[in-house]
Symmetry: C2
Subunit: 223 residues, 2 copies
DNA sequence: CCAAAAGTGTTGGTCTTACACCCATGC
DNA sequence: GCATGGGTGTAAGACCAACACTTTTGG
């Protein structure tokens, strides 16, 4: 049963979003430096209160920002954190979301609560407000797990990419090296990729570009 | 960020618990028939509002009932349901929990809101209140998934059991038959079980009893 | 011509699946 | 003695991990 009605709620609901991306061979999370409140000057995940007429997913998308700015290609609910002590300012239950997207220019702080926004490598986080360190850990764990049995990595890559870039992305997330031949064999055999007839030219031998056939979540044994 | 303070919350927080068990070769969920409210007379998952001083886990344990009655051996958070329309009586966000336990006698309705409690096979559910059908589906999906990579099945079995009973439990949950020889080979090879020097006597050849070495969650490749 | 990343196959081991017969007991 | 579930092994195929050399380009 879930009935509310009656007395006014004693517990508030917020949404916090951990946006992960891979940049510079590192898995990074988008953090905001808070201007005010009990954790003024500390870094925190972007978040905010759920409005009475919006769903949790809608609140998460709102916090994520307008499509085009910080737009993410994947959004999923992660876990709900509800320790009575997690917010010194009152009882707030926070529904955490995991989002995946391409690294944007750091600054798009259109939210006056935030002094600054930046991508921080998850391997060396600053002190975080609230229980956001646990949220980031949960987000990273979820991403690592899903890497093995879904195609969500598509949300972290541009429209076309080389197999080397794809492997780098996997390695950045998993934090370990993968065998190149086995990786290529496996990923090509899955049929998730479409080979383009273009190449990426760089300082060395050009690499064939690939694209994901479908850019939406599929459950499949990847690793 | 998650700060509350300021205005009174417009959104209430509840916890609903899907207790699953296996009985009579069927996966079942504990449902309560509601006495009052917008879904009077309908079946629903036991649930209730989160109190201002308790954690979400504590609320779930409270709703689960005193240890000894409906005591469950495993409890984990499942998903948070927050559609604005899910409760006709007001905006209630529900944090759903999955619990696993042994089948108890159906009746232990010490909660005056419930007319009746019963174990319903998840394969043929009655109409459920709220979005509880989706909650049960999520609970069953989670259990099925975790069967393959954890030892949580221990929470559904008594202290000692035969390999036949263990296999029946797996089959009831997965909804498909498993090869007996392969199943026994795999489970014995994992080292999760301790062979007891007792047997279960029945109308046929006695079966050796086993117990789980450790009755707490372990991540391991099971199936 | 050198450095650096791209590209490519084989082999051995492990794991999974499929499958059939005898055993011990209660009735 | 028969019905029923308990108990056991093997072989074929799939999958995974390990591993080294050649190619192509820019500078």
């Amino acid at each position: 049963m879930s009935t509310a009605a009656g007395a006014l709620p004693a517990v508030a609901v917020a949404v916090d979003v951990a946006v992960l991306t891979v940049h510079g061979r590192e898995l990074r999370v988008r953090l905001a430096r808070l201007r005010a409140g009990p954790f003024a000057d500390a870094w925190a995940l972007p978040g905010g209160r759920v409005r009475s007429e919006e769903s949790l997913d809608a609140a998460a998308r709102r916090i994520l920002g307008a499509p085009g700015r910080g737009s993410a290609l994947h959004l999923e609910q992660l876990y709900t954190f509800g320790s009575p002590q997690r917010d010194p300012a009152g009882r707030v239950v926070s529904v955490a979301y995991l989002a995946l997207g391409r690294p944007t220019r750091p600054p798009f702080a259109d939210d006056p609560r935030y002094a600054e926004l930046a991508w921080h490598p998850v391997a060396r986080l600053p002190a975080l407000a609230y229980d956001h360190r646990a949220v980031v850990r949960a987000a990273v764990d979820r991403l690592r797990a899903k890497l093995a049995y879904t195609n969500i990595v598509y949300a972290l890559l541009p429209g076309d990419f080389t197999l080397g870039e794809l492997q780098e992305t996997y390695e950045a997330i998993l934090g370990r090296a993968l065998d190149r031949r086995n990786f290529r064999k496996k990923l090509l055999s899955l049929g998730l990729l479409r080979r383009l007839d273009r190449v990426r030219r760089g300082p060395h031998r050009p690499a064939v570009l690939y694209a994901f056939r479908r850019r939406r979540p599929i459950v499949i044994d990847v690793l």
